[in-house]
């Protein structure tokens, strides 16, 4: 049976429109992956020297182990946002004489081969060869590596469970991050040293391999939790949720009526975002974008102008990018209806632009308190806000006509998280880099502030010409609409 699943999965991925039609994106993703992989291997090769530099008196191996507890904690947090829970179209298998356990075990096998489980190995394996084998023994290295594998899988399955349960409640992840940060602070000021326990515990486990049974049994337990949770969700009732629900307040909004069909379209966009799980998750995640400044601004080393430009674009435009990237894919369920009906495409895009403006301005207002870190921050964020409003918004809308991948927004089951993983971030990276590219020559000439002014200026000019820009966007859409519709019809 596994053989069949594997071949179906393989066929599904290579036959999807996505791979066949966006070679450039594949190359970009591949390139970034390659860079990331080589960085990690380099890190693994030199981590002992880095650690020795930082802690000259301590044993490198012990230090390495003491950091692992935080590594696994941070890993859990990052995975919550970047890890795509593996999807398999289970409806197509449920009515067949296949045991549910086979389907589930396949899903879990697939998830344990996830890239997030492979990445740490790129660091760990060089470390094993360079530090553990010469200083201890081969057997010792094997025992340590086994322990690491069990812990990585533990994290993987724990997250798997948490993400399925709490995908709608990202505040849990933020609460976890707070706990993690406070633990680090307590560690830093030597109040409670979790890192100390981490190294003592891990080294004890390696020395007494019988106790590896403890993390192993935790692993089995977490696996079992996943298993029983998903098993309970494997009936068609859970996949196609049909609950009697109360009408939401969006259906009562009459404010937009006075704007005629444009108002109706804006309302449609709002309902689209709010009533579908996938888009709602992005809205729930958006506080994350705004917190980004907290990481960068207080840190003197990172407080460089180039980085501030990046942070500004990211904070004022983060929601816009997530919305803009998918604004047509989100409509894939009813795209034929939009183009066959008497919908004015110009107004259709204006409704989307209206929402973009709203999110950028709201994000901008919420970043104003960063004024605390200096007027420079506010000036840069204002410039970036203008650039997002006037220029990047149109670039996004222009390229939205390149979307070809159907997204099923309505499936709000535990089995559907497509389009919410790391790749979507890689795809929008070029947009973030654009303002930096504009700014860079000015910086090289020694007039970085003129660079900021230019970015703001581009934003203002494009805002002034927004009607013409919109016409270009709509024209391209009209040329491409058949291709888009064709892609969206493909399941």
């Amino acid at each position: 049976m596994f053989k069949w699943f594997l071949s179906h999965q393989w066929k599904e991925s290579i036959r999807s429109n996505f791979w066949q039609k966006s070679l450039v994106i594949n190359i970009i993703i591949g390139f970034f992956m390659l860079i990331m992989f080589s960085y990690l291997i380099l890190l693994g090769l030199f981590i002992d020297e880095i650690l020795h530099e930082a802690f000259p008196d301590a044993d490198t191996f012990i230090i390495f182990n003491s950091g692992l507890i935080y590594y696994f904690g941070i890993d859990l947090f990052i995975r919550f946002f970047l890890y795509s829970v593996p999807v398999i179209q289970i409806e197509s298998y449920l009515h067949l004489p296949i045991r549910k356990s086979q389907i589930l075990n396949f899903i879990f096998l697939k998830s344990s081969l996830n890239v997030f489980n492979v990445l740490p190995l790129l660091v760990f394996i060089p470390f094993v060869f360079k530090v553990i084998i010469p200083n201890y023994s081969g057997i010792y290295a094997i025992k340590w590596m086994l322990l690491m594998l069990v812990l990585i899988l533990n994290n993987s399955f724990l997250l798997h469970y948490l993400k399925r349960r709490f995908i709608d409640k990202p505040f849990i992840a933020f609460a976890f991050a707070l706990v993690l940060i406070s633990a680090m602070l307590l560690d830093k000021f030597d109040i409670i040293s979790l890192s100390g326990y981490s190294s003592i515990g891990l080294i004890y486990l390696v020395n007494n391999p019988i106790y590896i049974l403890i993390p192993l049994s935790i692993l089995i337990f977490v696996y079992g939790m996943n298993y029983s949770y998903l098993k309970s969700k494997m009936t068609l009732d859970d996949i196609n949720v049909k609950k009697q629900r109360k009408e939401d307040s969006l259906s009562k909004i009459t404010y937009f009526e006075s704007y005629g069909d444009l108002g109706e379209m804006i309302l449609l966009e709002l309902k689209l975002i709010w009533r579908n799980k996938r888009s709602r998750t992005i809205i729930n995640m958006s506080p994350l974008f705004l917190l980004y400044g907290l990481i960068i601004y207080p840190n003197e080393d990172m407080n460089k102008l180039g980085l501030l430009v990046f942070v500004g674009i990211f904070m004022t435009g983060g929601i816009m990018f997530n919305y803009g990237q998918y604004m047509l894919s989100w409509e894939s369920n009813y795209f034929d209806g939009i183009i066959a009906n008497n919908v004015d495409f110009y107004k259709h895009f204006r409704a989307k632009y209206f929402l973009i403006i709203a999110t950028v301005i709201i994000s901008y207002i919420l970043t104003i308190p960063y004024l605390y870190f200096g007027t420079k921050v506010l000036i840069i964020n204002t410039a970036m806000c203008l650039f997002n409003l006037g220029f990047l918004s149109f670039v996004l809308m222009y390229f939205s006509s390149d979307s070809r991948k159907r997204m099923d927004m309505s499936k709000s089951s535990a089995f559907n998280y497509q389009g919410m993983g790391a790749t979507n971030w890689i795809m929008i990276l070029p947009f973030f880099l654009l303002p930096i590219l504009i700014w860079l020559p000015f910086n090289l000439l020694g007039i970085p502030n003129w660079g900021i002014a230019t970015i703001a200026f581009i934003g203002i000019i494009s805002l002034a010409f927004h009607k013409s820009l919109m016409k270009i966007v709509v024209k391209r859409f009209e040329q491409k609409k058949h291709l888009i519709a064709e892609g969206f019809r493909e399941f």
């Binding site: 049909k242 449609l268 919908v343 309505s410």
Partner: protein
């Protein structure tokens, strides 16, 4: 009136539809039958400019459908569930379709009142999103939405499929009434020879993308068609 000239649609070099010439007069009820893959949906998608033809053109009341979108104002259509905005309630969907066709809330309400029987109490005021409706009820929403703008041309793909018998009969009488009272040009495809011969004055049989019969409906038409398809299967 719809005029088709030298229409060819091919996928990867394989011709799936080839109609050298076809004229559908105003007020005509035009039925399209054919086996799976005969090109029925492809033809309707071309009429609605949902896909691009490789060759030829479709002129709808003097307008080439691919050049402008003005024909949408007088064309109502429902092909499949891809037309429905699934996260809206039926009411919200009718409001939206009505509003893009410049109808007032009052117009929409009046329109929906006529459909009370057709909906059989299963569509309105149920506080359900369209995605939660059964296939047949979705179909009812789609058909009603196609009629909301009081169209001069109506395009329906398999309108009888997945409807219950009562609704099938109601739909037939509704279509006949539209024909008689408003002279709506109708393009209807169906696998069900009974229904389509009952509603349509003219039947065209498609086979592998070619028009092989063009019949004015008479009492013998049903038999004729049954014979044609029976031979095909043996």
């Amino acid at each position: 009136m719809i005029e088709v000239k030298n229409l060819v649609k091919a996928y990867h070099g394989v011709v799936v539809l080839n109609i050298p010439e076809l004229k559908i007069e105003k007020g005509e009820s035009f039925g399209l039958v054919g086996n799976n893959g005969a090109g029925k949906t492809t033809f309707f998608r071309l009429i609605l400019d949902l896909i691009k033809a490789n060759k030829g053109e479709i002129i709808s009341q003097g307008i080439d459908v691919k050049s402008t979108t003005n024909w949408k104002a007088y064309t109502g259509s429902y092909l499949d569930e891809n037309f429905l905005i699934d996260f809206l309630t039926p009411e919200e969907y009718f409001d939206f379709i009505g509003s893009v066709n410049n109808l007032s809330k009052g117009d929409i309400k009046k329109f929906l009142e006529q459909f009370e029987d057709f909906f059989n109490g299963e569509i309105l005021d149920r506080k359900k999103y369209i995605r939660e409706l059964s296939r047949g009820n979705k179909q009812k929403v789609g058909i009603a939405a196609a009629l909301i703008s009081d169209p001069e041309i109506l395009v329906l793909d398999e309108p009888f499929a997945s409807l219950d018998p009562t609704t099938q009969i109601r739909l037939k009488s509704l279509l006949k009434q539209l024909q008689k009272e408003k002279r709506v040009t109708m393009l209807i495809s169906s696998h069900d020879l009974n229904h389509v011969t009952e509603v349509c004055e003219r039947i065209v049989v498609l086979d592998k993308g070619n028009m092989i019969h063009d019949i004015k409906t008479s009492t013998d038409t049903l038999k004729e068609l049954e014979k044609h398809f029976a031979v095909k299967t043996s």
